[in-house]
Amino acid sequence: MQKIPILGLRDLLLVTVQVDMHDELAMQLLDDLTSKVAQTGAKGVVLDISALEIVDSFIGRMIADIAATSRVLDADTVLVGMQPAVAITLVELGMELKGVHTALDVEAGMDLLQRLREERT
């Protein structure tokens, strides 16, 4: 079965979503990511959605769930690379994406996670 790869980068996890996810794949990602955060003790998750042309309410909720679950496991989540058309649509759709930080790209995302961690200690 197709799985979305999760890369370990120091104490962060990097996930790059490159396929149009159907619901089962999205839920599999939430499961896998949560396990990995708990397993590795990662302090941050970078979720790269630059390849996603569509983010509907289901995917939006999954992103919020990833952020909330990671937070419980003491990790922050930053969403990077959102396409402008997707951003416009999400606002129109009324999705708030609570608890999800955003940054322009992976590098900016990693910097943000670093800053957030420093603020906590």
């Binding site: 149009d20 619901d23 042309e53 569509i54 509907d56 058309a85 416009i88 009324g94 999705m95």
Partner: protein, 132 residues
């Protein structure tokens, strides 16, 4: 080239196909990137409703024209339990943002026209149109 196509909405994979086909047909009438993204997102929401609440159904994509203006119509139908209170489902508090309800107000904002018919025990029919 045909002016309409009917697609099944009976599985998660079907929802992905609905998104892809909606995108393709949006290209046929020359919708902009943002218009296309909004319409495909609305189609994804409604397809998911048809599947999750309607127990499966189908969608008809159709090229339409009114007063010289081109548009794309999507009609989602299912023979599921129907919506108890359509008025309530269309209210703002029931957006998909908080995980409750059917996300209909959100989908409605993404399209030019939105029509819904639903009665308990009689299934649901939702038509959305995006005019160019």
């Amino acid at each position: 080239m045909s002016t309409s196509v009917t697609l099944p909405v009976d599985s998660n994979e079907d929802v992905v196909v609905v998104r892809q086909e909606t995108r393709r047909w949006a290209g046929r009438i020359g919708l902009s990137l943002v218009e296309t993204t909004k319409l495909v997102t609305a189609a994804s929401e409604l397809a998911r409703n048809t599947l999750d609440y309607g127990g499966g159904g189908e969608v008809e994509l159709r090229l339409v024209e009114r007063e010289g203006r081109k548009g794309l119509s999507l009609v989602f139908t299912d023979e599921g339990p129907g919506i108890e209170d359509v008025e309530q489902a269309l209210q703002e508090g029931f957006t998909s943002g908080n995980g409750l309800g059917l996300g209909l107000p959100g989908a409605r904002r993404l399209v030019s026209e939105f029509h819904i018919e639903s009665n308990p025990g009689a299934g649901t029919r939702v038509e959305v149109i995006r005019w160019k």
